[in-house]
Amino acid sequence: MSTVDSALDIDRQPFESLFTPLLSSAYGAALRLVRTRPDAEDLVQEAALQAFRAYHTFQPGTNFKAWFFRILANCFISRYRRNRKERDDLALDDIEDLYLYRRTVEAGIHGSDTSPVQTLLGKLDEEQIGEAMARLPGDYRAVATLYFIEDFSYEQIAGVVGCPIGTVRSRLHRARKMLQRALWQVAVDQGLVSRLTAPEAS
């Protein structure tokens, strides 16, 4: 190791001390990116190994979480592109604003005290919302995951997925709309809408 490398390493914390606190969060994001728990664990394992091997390139003092999530997102995107047979269930056509609100009102969903859209959302659990998320095309799912799960700003997401902020903004805008449509489809597919519009529903 050169003198310069040794000097830089004075400030470098052990990889595990930075990485371990992120593990639960990384698993949560991975689970929304891929469809199953074994795949989520596998994705985090792959990203962890890549990050560990590339740790010498991490600049101490910069944002380790953003650095690691860039690797995680890249692992996901590479897998996603490799496995194009994974079906994108949603067409990328235009989706009207307030999609879920309009569908729930049109369908005549009724609840005791809340608006139709809130009634529907109140009945959807995390598995169903996760399934709707999984129906988004990969590039959109990556942006939406960083936004919904990690609360990253547009600028941070742009840094992680490596695209301009304007692209993040437009992808996120469409991802939100696609997600509302996917949620509606999940609710229809699973019979939730039928139950909530039945005469005895409340």
Binding site: F15, E16, F19, T20, L23, S24, Y27, G28, L31, R32, R37, E41, V44, Q45, A48, L49, F52, R53, D97, L98, L100, Y101, S115, V117, Q118, L121, G122, L124, D125, E126, I129, G130, M133, Y147, F148, I149, S153, Y154, R169, L172, H173, R176, L179, Q180, L183
Partner: protein, 78 residues
């Protein structure tokens, strides 16, 4: 400047809800929402939808042995 319209408010809705607007832009949106009940209701609905989605997506049960497995794999990689 011309009057801020419902169309402009809809265009800025995502960025407003995400706290990504500049102060001057935020003032325009807030001014409009104070005057337009239709847009104010739409913003409230979207905010509730976003909140519901976000809170459910964050509910993830991490397998108890997951952290141990990843750390063991890293140790093997050394």
């Amino acid at each position: 400047m011309d009057r801020y319209t419902c169309e402009q408010a809809f265009r800025d809705m995502d960025a407003y809800l995400d706290r990504e607007l500049e102060i001057a832009e935020t003032r325009l949106v807030l001014g409009h929402l104070g005057e337009c009940a239709g847009c104010a209701e739409s913003f409230r609905v979207e905010a509730k939808v976003l909140f519901a989605i976000r809170s459910r997506l964050r509910r993830v049960r991490v397998p108890p042995t997951f952290v141990r497995r990843v750390r063991a794999r890293l140790r093997r990689a050394r």
